[in-house]
Amino acid sequence: MHRGKGMKFVGDSRIPAERKPNIPKDYSEYPGRTEAFWPNFLLKEWLVGAVFLIGFLVATAAHPSPLEQQADPTNASYIPLPDWYFLFLYQFLKYQYAGGDFIVLGAIVMPGLAFGALLLAPFLDRGPERRPTRRPIATGLMLLGVIATFWLTYESVSHVDYEQRSEQYGVKEEGEGPDINTDHPGYAVYEANCLSCHGDTLQGQGSNPSLLKTEKSVEEIKHIAKNGIGNMPSGVFNGSEEELQKLAEFIHSAATGGGKGGEKGSGGEGEGGSDSGSGH
């Protein structure tokens, strides 16, 4: 192509008038088995990408993204949990020397040092060696960081029952979720004595457990209602012995599945509440 004196342009622009043909370079002379990026390599990449995309779309269709109940700032019993990739930090702050009085250390100084080191890694690890085995300090620190992150993440979720959370905090659908028999004579007693803690459908809230899966017998339920258990104080129930009997029978029947439908005979629809929102 002509450069310098005598160069021709398109009109008064700075675009050279001479066209270069768009012929791809021939890479066969390069060392090793090189390949043209476009279209040879990209085609393979995109084939993999297409499979990846299909898998991803199937996964999204199979797993509805969770949506809990609308935010209620007054809900004092809610146990917060961040998205999984912040769990390691969340867990870290639970330790004595990282949280509480040492929060500055745990929330600012330590993560600051770790992420600062990550940001500046090329300036901390300046040697020419690239193989991980030839730069043991950098490799070791990174491995340590990764292992710590994994471990902290594991620690923070090992006690979390995600299924129970989604059951408890998820949106209750009409016709879905626990379908309790509100016509049962014990329901009114439940409403008056227990509903404020165990929820309007026995689903529990916060640290107050759901009663839907209790395996306790009628006698045991009567005992607990009067005398409490664990964090539940005694004397919650105040009413007649007859009411107590109805209450215990109601809870027992709801827990053993007898509460569903009931005399209303509306069965069929409620497919259980464990899965908030699939099938829509």
Binding site: P39, W46, L53
Partner: protein
């Protein structure tokens, strides 16, 4: 570079475009369907609302108002509707929408002294005869829409207003 190589390259190019198109379509199809959903939603069936007792309807158009519950996706509200209602010569009830077909102002019956027997629109002087047909030479180009109606137990129920099309 031999001829054969170019055609192989061309083939790869086509395949690449195809795979790229497939990926773009796979990604965009659900999103586009999502975005155009309002266009494809079946329009809400015309529910009928009680408006006025039949005995109150006269030969002169009167304006009656009623409220309907409007469900706007996640937002629920009450909106006011109104209609000009009268009984025509054949004893049929006629309920006209008061929304001018020109630019949407609200028309009034006999509010212009010069045209006592017509609907008059104050915005640009649009006029309609009593049956709701626009008067030629005035801005509106279509008649006033007519409400679906039914009478049940001496009550007039109105549904959706339908464009009549045509016009003069």
């Amino acid at each position: 570079m031999s001829k054969k190589q170019v055609s192989r390259r061309q083939f790869l190019n086509y395949t690449l475009t195809g795979v790229g198109g497939f990926m773009a379509a796979g990604m965009l199809a659900p999103m586009v369907r999502f975005a155009i959903d309002p266009v494809l939603k079946p329009s809400a069936s015309g529910e009928m609302h009680p408006v006025v007792e039949v005995s109150k309807i006269t030969n002169t158009p009167q304006r009656f108002e009623w409220e309907v519950k409007q469900q706007d996706a996640w937002y629920e509200s009450m909106v006011q509707k109104s209609a000009w209602v009268y009984v025509d010569k054949n004893d049929e009830i006629v309920a006209l929408s008061p929304i001018c077909t020109h630019l949407g102002c609200v028309v009034d019956w006999s509010s212009n002294e010069q045209y006592p027997d017509q609907f008059y629109c104050p915005c640009h002087g649009g006029r309609y005869t009593k049956d709701g047909v626009n008067v030629p030479g005035t801005p509106p180009t279509a008649p006033l829409p007519i409400y679906e109606h039914k009478v049940e137990e001496d009550m007039l129920y109105l549904g959706r207003a339908h464009d009549r099309g045509g016009g003069v």
